[in-house]
C-alpha cells in the first residue's frame, strides 16, 4: 500500500520533470530563429568589431596585431577630436532645438480643439518623417543651392548676400542640422502630443481650482507629466543623432574641409574607401561606447527627474 503510493509519487515527479523539460525545449524552439540571427548578425559581429579593433587589416594581406595602437591614434589625432566634436555638436544642437520646438508645437496643437487644424498640423509636421533621409537631403539640398536655390532667393530679397549654405565651412554644419530638424521634428512632436494626451484632465482642473494660470499649469502639471516622454525622446534622440551620416555624405561629403565630417562618416571612409578595417572597427567601438555611456548615464540621472504617475 505504502509502497504503491510512493511509486505513484515518484512516477508523477518523473513525468512532471519530463513536462518541464519539454516546455524548456519548446521555449528554445520559439526562440531559435531570433537567437540564431542575434548571435550571427548582432552579437557575433559586435564581438568581432571589438576584436578587430586590436588589429591592422586591409582585407588583402593577413591581419597584423596592433594592440592599442588604433585607440592611441584616435585619441591623439587632432583631426579625430575635431570629428568627435562635430558629432557631439550636431547631436546636442539638433536634439536640443527639436525638443524645444516640438514641445512648443505640441503644446500649441494640444490646446486647439478643432479637428481640422489637428489633422492638418499632424499631417504637415509629421510628413518629412516618413520619407528617406536621402530624398530629404536631395530636396533641401536643392532649396539651399547657393545660386539657384529658393532660400537664397528670399535672402537676396532681404538685401543680404546669398549664403553658401552647403559650401562654406561656417554654414555647412548648420545646414546639416537644419535638414535633420526638418526631417525628424515630426517624430518628437507626435511623441510629445501623445504624452500631453496622457496627462489626466483632473490634474489641470485641480490646478485651476487652486488658481493656477497658464504658465503655472505648464510648469507644475504639463512639464512633470511629460518627464517620461522627455526621457524617452532624450534616450532615443541622442543615440540616433550620434549616428548621423546620410545627409553629411550626400550633400557635403564631410566638407568643406572637415566641417561636416562626423564619426560614422569617418568610419565609412576608413572601412570602405581606405580599407582600414581595424581602424574603422576601433571607430565603431568608440561610437558604441559613446552611445552606451550616454544611455547608462541618462538612466542613472533619470531617477532624479523623471516622474511616473
Amino acid at each position: 500500500m505504502n509502497n504503491k503510493e510512493g511509486e505513484f509519487k515518484l512516477s508523477r515527479a518523473v513525468s512532471l520533470q519530463r513536462i518541464r523539460k519539454k516546455e524548456i525545449a519548446q521555449a528554445y524552439l520559439f526562440l531559435a530563429p531570433t537567437l540564431a540571427g542575434f548571435f550571427i548578425f548582432i552579437l557575433g559581429p559586435m564581438a568581432a568589431a571589438m576584436g578587430l579593433a586590436f588589429f591592422d587589416w586591409n582585407l588583402i594581406s593577413p591581419p597584423t596585431f596592433a594592440a592599442l595602437h588604433n585607440y592611441y591614434v584616435i585619441f591623439s589625432d587632432p583631426r579625430v577630436l575635431k570629428i568627435i566634436w562635430n558629432t557631439l555638436f550636431f547631436t546636442i544642437v539638433s536634439v536640443g532645438v527639436k525638443l524645444v520646438l516640438a514641445l512648443l508645437l505640441a503644446l500649441g496643437v494640444h490646446s486647439q480643439i478643432s479637428r481640422f487644424s489637428n489633422y492638418f498640423l499632424r499631417t504637415t509636421i509629421f510628413s518629412p518623417v516618413v520619407i528617406s533621409m536621402a530624398a530629404a537631403s536631395v530636396m533641401l539640398g536643392w532649396m539651399l543651392n547657393t545660386d539657384f536655390g529658393i532660400v537664397n532667393h528670399f535672402v537676396r530679397k532681404l538685401g543680404i548676400m546669398p549664403i553658401k549654405w552647403l559650401t562654406s565651412s561656417t554654414w555647412s554644419m548648420r545646414s546639416i542640422i537644419l535638414i535633420d530638424i526638418w526631417k525628424t521634428i515630426g517624430f518628437y512632436f507626435i511623441v510629445f502630443l501623445a504624452g500631453l494626451h496622457n496627462i489626466p484632465k483632473e490634474f489641470y482642473e485641480a490646478a485651476k481650482v487652486d488658481g493656477a494660470n497658464a504658465w503655472h499649469q505648464f510648469w507644475y502639471v504639463s512639464l512633470p507629466g511629460l518627464t517620461p516622454t522627455l526621457f524617452f525622446l532624450l534616450v532615443i534622440g541622442l543615440s540616433s543623432a550620434l549616428q548621423v551620416f546620410d545627409q553629411a555624405y550626400i550633400l557635403t561629403r564631410g566638407g568643406p574641409g572637415d566641417s561636416t565630417r562626423v564619426l560614422v562618416y569617418y568610419l565609412y571612409e576608413h572601412g570602405f574607401q581606405y580599407l582600414n578595417m581595424g581602424y574603422a572597427s576601433t571607430l565603431a567601438v568608440v561610437l558604441f561606447l559613446f552611445v552606451l555611456i550616454l544611455t547608462i548615464f541618462q538612466f542613472r540621472l533619470g531617477r532624479f527627474w523623471v516622474f511616473y504617475q
Binding site: A49, L105, S117, Y119, S127, A135, F148, A194, L267, V291
Partner: protein
Amino acid sequence: MRSREVIGHKFVKITILLSLFACGTLIFIPFIWVMVSSFKDAVEIFSIPPTLIPRKPTLINFRRIMHEIPFHLFFINTFKISILITIGQLFTCSLSAYAFARMEFPGRDFLFLLFLTSIMLPPQVTIIPTFVLMRYFGLLNTHASLIWPALVSAFGTFLLRQYFLTIPKDLEDAAKMDGASPFRIYYSIFLPLSSAALAMLAIFCFNYFWNEFFRPLVFINTLRKMTLPLGIFMVQGRYGAASPGLLLAGATIAVFPVLIIFIFGQRYIVEGITLTGLKG
C-alpha cells in the same frame, strides 16, 4: 472689463493658431516646391530669380529620368527587400516575444536583458564584421546581404513582448485545459489578439527598410540592384549639378507614393507611434 479679457484671450488663441499653421505650411513647402520645380524645363530651372510657377510645365524630366535610370527596378528592389524583411521580422519577433512573455526557461531574464541592451546598439557598429562575413559567403552586391542580417530585431521582440504581457492569462488557461500546445496558443490566441501591435511593427519595419541608406550604400554597387534611397543618391551624383530637374523628378517619383500613403493612413501611423511612445 470681462469682455476685454475674453477678446484678449481670443486674440492669443488666434495668434497661436496662425503661427502653428505657418509652421505646418513651412514644413510642408519643400514637398510642393520640389514637385513644382520638377515640371520646369532645363532652362527655367536655372532662372534667377526662380519662377514660383513653371511658365511652360513639361514632363520631359520624368520621361528622361525613367528612360535613363531604371527607377522601376529601384521600386521593385526596395519593395522586395522591405517586404521580405518585414515578414521575417513579424515571424521571428512574435515567436521570441511569446517565449519571453509566457514561457519559463533557464536564462530567460539574462537573454531578455541582452536583447534590451542591443536595442541601443547602432547598426554601424557591426557593419565592418558583417561586411567581412558577407564577403566570405560571396554575398556582396546581393539583396540577400541586406535581408538576412535584418530578419531579427531586438526592438520588435521587445515591442511585441510588452503587448503580449497585456493579454489576459485566463484565455490561454482555458486553451491549456483543452490540451492546446504552446504553438497552438501562440497561433490562435496571441497572434489574432495582437493584430494592432503586429500592424504597427510591420509599418515601422517596412518604412525603416524602405528608407535605409547606409547598408545599401555599403553592400550594393550595381545600378540595377540599387534601392530607391541609394538610387536617388546616385542620380544626384550623375545629374545633380548639370540637370537638377532630373534629380527633382527622381525625388518626386520616390517621395510622393510614400507621402500619399501616409496622408491617407496618417491616423493609424500616428496612433502606432503614440502606443510605442508610451510603452517605450
